[in-house]
Amino acid sequence: MNASTDDSLSPRSPTPAYVPGYVGAKRLMLAFGLGLVAFGAIQLWSPLRLTWFGVHTTAEAVSVIKEKPGLPALTLNTDAQVLAQTALADRNVVFWNLFKFQTQDGKTVIVRAGTGSQMKPLYSLSSWDGLPTSDSVWYDPREPERAIFPLIVSTWLAPAVVLFAGALCTIIAAYLLYWARKPIEVPHVAALDANS
């Protein structure tokens, strides 16, 4: 259905009504919004599941992997080595932190943080007191290599944005769809002379 200014609804009324229409397009918009919501939720589900049902412990940074397309990965085991590699300020490089933690049954697991960083590692290897840098980790007890670091904002950022945009789109589309077939009173607008 297309938009129309429907005078026939009240032929003698001085205030004509407008029926918005465009039901098909609005349905498509709703589907787009729902699609975004679903996609965002799927991306969020994996970290959320681990945060809710996984086991929490503290992991210690053990090393940093430096990756650059075309070159072999380089393992850096001290902050001095990291410093030497970050001095170049190369944006084609990605640094990934490796963390070590102990599971409830005493097994030591080494995992790579799900988020890397281009200019320098997200975490230095040791803190000011000389101890390994630590971060909270949630892992799957059946498969401890599946672990997430919820305090790293990028874990959530992209899925949350998609979910938010989807929710906003869905709300707007649902509202527009609701009013699509309902007539809206159009105000009287007298011809206005800009020079008066």
Partner: protein
Amino acid sequence: MIITCRKKIPLRWIGFSVLPGASVSLNTAVVGAAFVFSVKKFVENPAGVAFVLSLPGFLAIIFAPLSSFLSDRIWTRFGRRKPFVISGGIGMIIALTAMPLAPNFWLLVAAYVLYHISDGLSAPRDPLQQEIVPPSERGRATGTLTWCQNLAIVVFYSVMLGRFDDVRFFAGFPLHGESVIYWSAALLLIVTLLLVILGIKEIDPKSSLVGQRLSPRGIVRSLFDRELRPVYLLVLSHGLLNFFVGFGPFLTTLLYTDQWNYSKQEMGTNVAIGGVVNLFIIGLLTFFADKLPRMRALRVLIALSLLWNAFYFCYVNLILPDKRPSLVEIIIFGEVLSIISILVGLVYMPLIYDYVRRNKMGTFAAGMQITTRGTQLFTLNGIGVFVWAYAALFQPPAGESTRVVLRENTDRTALLQTLRQNTWQYPRDEGSAAPISAPPSAISAEVWQADGIAAKQGRAWEIRLRDKNSEKLAAEKIRLEKLRSPLLVSEKRLLDSALVADARGEGKAAAEAREAAQPLHVEAGKFGAQIETIDRELARRAENLRAQITTALGARLLSDGEQISKAALAPALIIEFSTAQRANTRSVERMLDQLHRSIPQSIDMRVLKRDAGYGLAVSVLASRDSAENTALIERVSAAVTHAVEKRAPELRGGPLTRLSVRETTALQLQLEVVEQPTGGYLSPVTRAVNAILGWFDHAPSPTRNLDAIARSLRVPGQTTDVRVNAPAGEHTLSVVAIFAESSTSAPTAIPAASADDIVPRDDAITARLRQLLGTSPTGPAVDAPATLRRARSFYDRIESAAAAQRITVARSVLATGYAPLKYDYMSGYIWVLGLGVVGLWLTYVFGGIEKRGGVSKRGVEEAAAS
């Protein structure tokens, strides 16, 4: 569904109508802040970055006014504003999507230009919003829009911008933080654009302007017709005041980072805290936005903001001894100003549109954009000139500079008198003809303290010789650096691609890349050589001035080594305890603070990594009497147990177990410093904030800068335990340190840990240490030269650690070099205060015109009549 020209609209329409504007706020933040980092991927040269960032200013003068003006003069089946908003929005989406994918500088700039042209095209978004919302509800709409804009800015600066360099896998593909930032903005724009396309219907206002013939003369006449002309006075007034509130982003950044030495992160924290507070305040103020008498409220608010800024200026310059507000003060003063400016915004926007009828909203928006841009150009350039002129008249001049420390306190007049009695010569190029005498007025002296306290008396002085010749040389160096920077960047890119080609076995490509890099290397090398020559020359000239000053002041200068008033070795104990888990940094700090109060001779507490689990190691100064030491160990054990119970009970898995007690040697040093390390001035605001924080046990410790020095002196494997003290009211720093042990350490020497910590130097400071350590009455005899070298090396580390906390260990000459003209960015407040007064006066001029009937609320009259 939303339609325009209604006399009354439901609340939800206001919410929907502001969404496009709110979405654009996020885009503006993205293209403003994140784009700087995107450009820096390709260009290091600041001049190049500045040029690219200046493009929007030029584009905005053309496209935004043009589209707004045209939107009053067309009518299509889609409306008159929507075609511009939609086409502009599509262009912005394309540009935002393309920016993170741009493979080179020129495509990035093309996307940036497309974005700003499209942004200009979509400018009729504002008139469209004003046509949807009737005059009586525009205050609320402006409040809602401000709230959404604020939310977008807070989220962007506190969450998104910091993720620019992150990389993560998303749906199986690597996704860069840069892309997340740009594409998030694009996605929200798509959603709000769909709202505009499908959800907003423009009603034909049957304007007689439609089809009007366009000519340059006609455009100018329309922009400045007699109905709109007086309203521009209000726009001008707001333009002056708006700048006044914002102080100009460039100058604000310089004031925070260059003058007050805050980091960008601290600036971001300030923005984020202010933004979060504003979210609540705007929500509250929006309720009252339509209840205020707009013109009267505007005048009162302008006057309030003027007064508040004048108060802030006086507070910083007259009350704070270092003329540097704390972050808390910046937030408090800034927040009050922010509330006033929000209120001004809530009143101003609806007020000006009260005077404009619907069919002239686009024309008025065009005129408003031109007026606002023109005002910005004037105010921003004006403040730059003003700050420069103020510096040239009242600030220390550019030229050679030397910072010296005197034996006694002296005042400025007396020192200048002494200095100006001498003959001074301009240091000139080696081999130049006869030396040129400098007039006595070319010499200036100011008390210098690293904490910025502007005292009238002091021991440390910065003495400068105004030297135009050196100023020109320094300017030449900056010019050469600008030329060299892009060459270095291009060379590095080529060499990197050569490395990648090597790894792929593409030898020919690698050779070509290296060959292409070679001329760049040669060219950059030429500039580098010229820069080095200038550096050497400037350093030589500064050294010449230092020699002249040293001769002029003679015995009044402190001798090197004199600043070490005590150096001794003392016996110490390290007592280790086991804990159930690893103590966090904050717990350790709090336990240590408690331990310092209960055991005055305690040195440090640190977390211990054991084979299985964690522990705490506590160090204390001991005596030679073993019975006394046994009692001390018991007292320390009890104090640590108490501290753990009170501050970190989670560390106790059961009774706290003492693992071992070790004897070692501690080094004690007492040094004279320029500043007063503790007990400094606390401003009224800081005292009030500390009193409030004290209720929650969070008041900052007055010795936190000393704790920070101790923290940075602790180096794993070298200096394990450190305590830094400063007697209240004295210019002295007292440091106790225990060095990491090795099996080769002699029991009466400071244990040697690593060779790189030993820097053999034989100067006045080493001689003084040798003298003091060799005759130490309390400590064991020094039996290893390594001990002396380690003490000397540790002294150097204390100097740099203290400097990081703005505490300067005294020495005869602290620094020598070329010093540029020093700017006081806060002086810009004088300029903007003047502009604020003009802004206030303009509102009264407008009021007079309105009284005489020269302008009336056409917009309100029209809405009432429809």
